[in-house]
Amino acid sequence: MSFVPGSSPVQAVPGMLVRFAAPVRKLPASVLISLLILGTVAFVTVTARLILPFEFDQMDLRARLAPPWPLDGSTLIHPLGTDKLGRDVFSRLLIATQTSILLALLGTVIGATLGTFLGFVAAHFGKWVDEAISTIVDFQAAMPWFIIALAVLAFMGNSMAVFLLLMGLYGWERYARITRGLVLAAREEGYARAVHALGGKPRTIYLRHVLPNILSPLIVQLTINFPETILFETSLSFLGLGIRPPMTSLGQMLGEGRDYMITAWWLAVIPGTVIFLTTLSMSIFGDWLRTRFDPSLQD
C-alpha cells in the first residue's frame, strides 16, 4: 500500500462514518448496479427456501431438459427450464445460490476472525509469539490453498466437515498480516498510549480504540476475499469435490450442466452467470469502497 506522506495508515479514515453517509445520488452507475445485484443475491440467500416454486430435488422425468423461457419448447411453469432429471432449474438455482453464498460467508467470517485475532496476538505479545505466527503466515501464503484443499480432500475423503474447515482457513493469513502491521502502528499512536496512561487495560485499548481505527483496510480485504472464497468453493464443487449431490451449489450445478452442453447449454450457463455477476459486483463494490476509504490506496 502506498500511503500519502504525512498521513498515518491508522488514521486513514477519521470521520469514516461521515464520508460513508454520502448521498446515494453520487454513486456511479456501475456501483449502483452492483449493489442491486448484491442485494438480490443477499435476498435470495435469505429467502430461498421460502420462495421456491418447486422442491429443488423434485423430479419430473416427463419434463426433462426443458429450455428456459422464451425459447422453443419451454413452459412458464419452469421459467429457467429443467435439468436432466426434470428438476426445476429456477428452484435449484435459488438453493444453489443460498448454499454457495452461505458457505462463502462462513468461510470469510472464519478466516477474517481467525486472521485478525492472530494478527492482534502477534502484535501484542511480540517476540517469539510474533515470530511463530509470522512464520505460519508466511508458510500459508507460500502454498496455493486450492491445491492443498485438493490434496486434503483426496487424503481425507470428501466430507463436509473437512470441506468447511478448508473453506474457513482460506485466506486467513492475509488478515493476520494486515492486522499485525496496523496494530503495531496503532499502538504507537498517541491516543493508545494515552489511554494506557489513564489506566486502560490492553483489551480495552484494542477493542475500543485500535480495532475501530483499523477497520477500513480490513473491510477492503473482506471485499477482495469474499469473491475469491466464492470461486474457491465453486471451483472445487465444479470438479466434483466439495459440494456433491444430493446437495447443490452453483459450482455443482455448473459441473453437472457441463455434461449437457450440447443439448441443454442453459444448465451450465445460468449458474455460471450468477457466479460471474456476484463476483463482478463484489469487485466493483470493493474497488469503490477502497477509493472512498482512502484515496491514496487507489490503483
Binding site: G15, M16, G190, Y191, A197, L198
Partner: protein, 340 residues
Amino acid sequence: MSLATLNADPVAVADPDADTIVRVRDAARAFVHRKAALLRKAGTFNAVDGVSLDLKKGETLAVVGESGCGKSTLGRLISGLMRPTAGSVFFRETDFSSLSADCWRESRQKVQIIFQDAAGSLDPRLPVEDQVREPLDLHALGTETERRAKVRAMLEAVKLGRHLWKAVPSELSGGQQQRVVIARAIILEPELLICDEPVSALDVSIQAQIIKLLIEMQERLGLTQLFISHDLAVVRQIADRIAVMYLGRIVECGPAEEVFSAPRHPYTRALLAAVPVPDPAARRKRQLLSGDPPSPHAPPSGCRFHTRCPKAQPHCSETPPVAQTFGDHEVSCHFPEDAA
C-alpha cells in the same frame, strides 16, 4: 537584572510543613542509542543521570532546560510511565518501580500526565465528551448518572463551549484540544499532575489561557504539579519552585522568585539572559554560552557544564560538583554565583 515584574496571578504557595508526596532519589534512566550486534553490547546512555528531588503537596515544581536535557524522561519517571534503571521514585509510600500491572493501573487515579501533542493523545473518531468520560469508565467510578454529571462539570470547568462537546478532536482548535486533554486527565481528581510541555505547540495568546486554566484547576483540586518546559517565560507564570536540568542532572533548584531574581548557576543565568524582557531600556549582562551542547551519549567529565561555562576552571573538568545549599536553594556548581 531585575525580574521583579511578575505578571502572574498569585500562586498558591506550598505549605512548608505539608507532606512530601514525591521522593526521587538518585534516579537514572538508561536508553539504548546503538543496538546490540553480534559481538557488541548495546550502547546506552543515561537520559536522566542521578536526579534527586522532592515534591510537596500543593506546589508546582517547574523543570526547565534545553531539549535533550532529560526533563521529559524525568517526567515519565515521576509519573510511573517509565521505570528508573537505577535509583528510586516514590509516590507517597508506593515504589513505582515495583508495581504489579493491576496496582499500576490503579495508581493512575492518583497520578496523571498530559503531553504537548494534544491531538495525538485523543482518539480521532470519538466525540470529546466520550473521551473525557473514559477514565471514569476505565476505573468503574460512580453510576451512569454520576459519570455524566462529572463529565459535564469537568467540561464546564475547562470552559469548553457546550456546542463542542459532541465534536471529534479534528473539529477543535489546538487550545480546545488541550482543554479536553486536561479535563480528561483531572476528571479522576489525581493528586499529582505532570505537564510535559503542554503549551509549547500553542499560540502565545492561547498559552496564557491554558496556563491560567491549569492554575485554576490546581487551586480547586489541591493538585500538585510538575511542569516541564523549555520556555522560562511560561514557567514564570505558574511555578512555585524551579529545577534546572542540564544533561540529565539537576544543576539548580529553588523557589521560583529566588531562582529568577538571583540565579546561582552559570547555566541558569545564561538561560534567563536569553528570555526576552519587554523593556528596551533594560540593559542586561549577557552571559553567553560558548560552544555547542554536548551529546548526551558522551557527557563531559567532571561538571558536565564545564565545556560551555564562561567561568570554567581546570578543577571543573575533573570533579563533579557537590550540591551546595543556600536555605531553600540548591546549586551544583564549584563556583556558584553570589546572590545578585
